[in-house]
Amino acid sequence: MARIRLHDIAHSYIPNPVKPADFALQQLDLTWDDGGAYALLGPSGSGKSTLLNILSGLVRPSHGRLLFDDVDVTDTDTRSRNIAQVFQFPVIYDTMTVYENLAFPLRNRGVGASATRKRVDQVAAILDLTGDLKNRASGLTADTKQRISMGRGLVRTDVAAILFDEPLTVIDPALKWQLRRKLKQIHHELEVTLIYVTHDQTEALTFADRVVVMDRGAVLQQGTPQELFENPQHVFVGHFIGSPGMNLMPCKMDGSAAMIGTQRVALPPERIAGSRAGEMTLGIRPEFVSLFDPGDAALLHVSVEEVEPLGGHQLIHARLDETRISIKAEPEIGVAPGVRLAVWLPQAHIKLYSDGRLVV
């Protein structure tokens, strides 16, 4: 296991890159602790696969150094980096038994028979494969095969890290949570550094202690699930995390308030002082927009355009002057399109962004 440092890493597929658009991966500097669980989260084209390939050694970064426990591995090949990988689709040998599949990476490296048996039994127990060890790997269900694939990634004790690339793609949605649970258990029991790449927020936030959110080749924020939800550092993070994402409304500062169109959102002086002149973006999550009048705050007036009942709650989509706002409300509240509502934006949950970045 190793502590991983991505020191000023950037990558361009063209020679002599100059401007940001020349880079598939914008410069980043990240450190991942030994034994941590990390996720790279972003839509397609965000650069997460490029970053994964740099870690595994399939891509040599055009800029920066990659360090495993302070040893520079930038120029080392995949094999000598000691990285294990689990892919989207199961990679197993159908002609072998489950035991032989799990033992394969150890036997390849000359691990003795008794040590191999001990480790395979341990990994099989965690993955609920003990009963299948003597069976042929062919003919098993997709989720069992993918558990074997995971087991092959986990079985070596000498790896620097294990990389998971969208490993639950082929799993029946109803079974996914059980494999997510397995992955978390594995992390606790085996104390390995796990790096998990996905476009699915539930997968990333459930699995990882810290999540790296990426978009268009740039790392926008690394944080705990709670930090990403409560304090997005970038409008993209606010939008991408949460269903639906954060409300992002253009606003201008005016004295003691942010103006959304003609409506005032009062803010404390220190937040006004820290803000920028000109166009800003006010962010607030739909779950924090309140329909309850606290009595001492100015309310905003919105008109309801659409109501989406979702069972456990409802989403109210409304117009606030020239902009739109979504409100997550209890299902019992009777509202219909055309109704005017007074809403309150609690100051503690208001974020202000300039050029996409969090300011105050």
């Binding site: 397609s44 739909p286 309140s290 309150w344």
Partner: protein, 374 residues
């Protein structure tokens, strides 16, 4: 147009896929076919389209028997899971194609229709591109635009969002709802996701293994599912089920909890029931009048804005949906609280004995103190 399916069955090879379905869909209806894989949703749509013929039964359009009328002679358009467009046509030509086929030769009028539809679906910047140059979400928008411009009386959509990632799905779902509104065509939409059926807000037909379990307004079915299986299928996250007893003045859950008999259950005979509870009606916060269940945590699944806590109450799986991000270690203990007035009661046969009463509140009105002004 009205669409009537009478006693429809379909056998393919040795397998019976649909079992004696009856369904009436009125003009202007949005109907969601909701069910897990192999429920028969696609098979039913293919019969509605005229791509297949049923083994027994009749299909009537406006009282005319169309059971054996070929798809080419029916007024129908279809959108599939895969993004299907003409690969060598630009987005513009793809969207215009049904108008050209229908003989809409007034170029100015055609251009306006194409551009209006492209604008509604956010495709204006991509009109001159080929489908292969678009993202998956844009390709599906293009297919949807084409289907919308075809002047068909029946629009069939077979899990159109399933191959998109969650952010694109969110955006396109909301757009589709606006797109389907108004007009007198029938829209039939197949999905495995209860949230889609509820959000689209029309009628829902809950299916399982080739049978219709319940049909009605989506919210009505959600609030009063006629049996356990329907309750399970229309709830996401799935409904919690607690087997137990109604005794004189109390409910006893098999896990050991005893609680006062809810007023709604006052006239139910004593005996065995299965009690249902939506995951959103369990909370981590204790409160007056709430019952508590000791739970061992299996996993905290975080979807960004909500946390789904998987746990075990005795030997029973139990799910709690909480706002915000909650961390709970695997194997830790927690108390889950709920209001007994939120319980459903299902009888021994699985059919609904009583649904909780649904109170409509005014905006700004609190439900007995459970809201928080964060």
């Amino acid at each position: 147009m009205s669409l009537v399916l009478e006693n429809i069955s379909r056998v393919a090879g040795t397998e019976q896929i649909l079992h004696g379905l009856n369904l009436t869909v009125e003009s202007g209806t949005l109907l969601t076919l909701l069910g897990p894989i192999r429920a028969g949703k696609t098979s039913l749509m293919r019969l509605m389209a005229g791509l297949d013929t049923p083994s027994t039964g009749r299909i009537l359009q406006d009282s005319a028997d169309v059971t054996r009328v070929d798809v080419r002679k029916r007024s129908v358009s279809m959108v599939y899971q895969q993004f299907i467009n003409y690969p060598n046509f630009t987005v513009y030509k793809n969207i215009a194609s049904p108008l050209v086929v229908a003989g809409q030769h007034d170029k100015k009028q055609r251009d306006k229709l194409v551009r209006d539809m492209a604008e509604r679906l956010g495709l204006t910047p991509y009109l001159q591109r080929l489908p292969a140059e678009l993202s998956g979400g844009q390709q599906q928008r293009c297919a949807l635009a084409r289907a919308m411009l075809k002047d068909s009386r029946l629009l069939l959509l077979d899990e159109p969002l399933v191959n998109l990632d969650y952010k694109l799905r969110e955006d396109l779902r909301a757009e589709m709802k606006a797109l389907f509104r108004g007009g007198d065509r029938i829209v039939v939409y197949a999905t495995t996701e209860p949230q889609e059926a509820l959000m689209l807000g029309g009628r829902v037909c809950v299916m399982r293994e080739g049978r219709v379990l319940q049909e009605g307004l989506a919210l009505d079915v959600y609030r009063a599912p006629l049996d356990l299986e329907t309750a399970r299928l229309i709830s996401d996250p799935p409904m919690n089920f607690f087997p137990g007893m109604i005794e004189a003045s109390l409910l006893r859950l098999d896990g050991g909890a005893e609680l006062p008999r809810p007023a709604e259950f006052s006239d139910l005979p004593a005996g065995r029931y299965t009690f249902g509870l939506h995951s959103a009606h369990l909370t981590l916060r204790p409160g007056s009048g709430l019952c508590a269940l000791p739970v061992l945590i299996d996993l905290a699944e975080i979807n960004g804005s909500e946390t789904l806590l998987h746990g075990q109450y005795g030997a029973l799986p139990v799910l709690l949906q909480a706002e915000g991000v909650h961390n709970a270690a695997i194997g830790s203990s927690a108390m889950f609280h709920f209001d007994p007035d939120r319980l459903y009661a299902f009888g021994a046969s699985g059919s609904l004995a009583r649904a909780p009463r649904f109170h409509v509140l005014q905006p700004g009105e609190a439900r007995h103190g459970t809201h928080s002004a964060t």
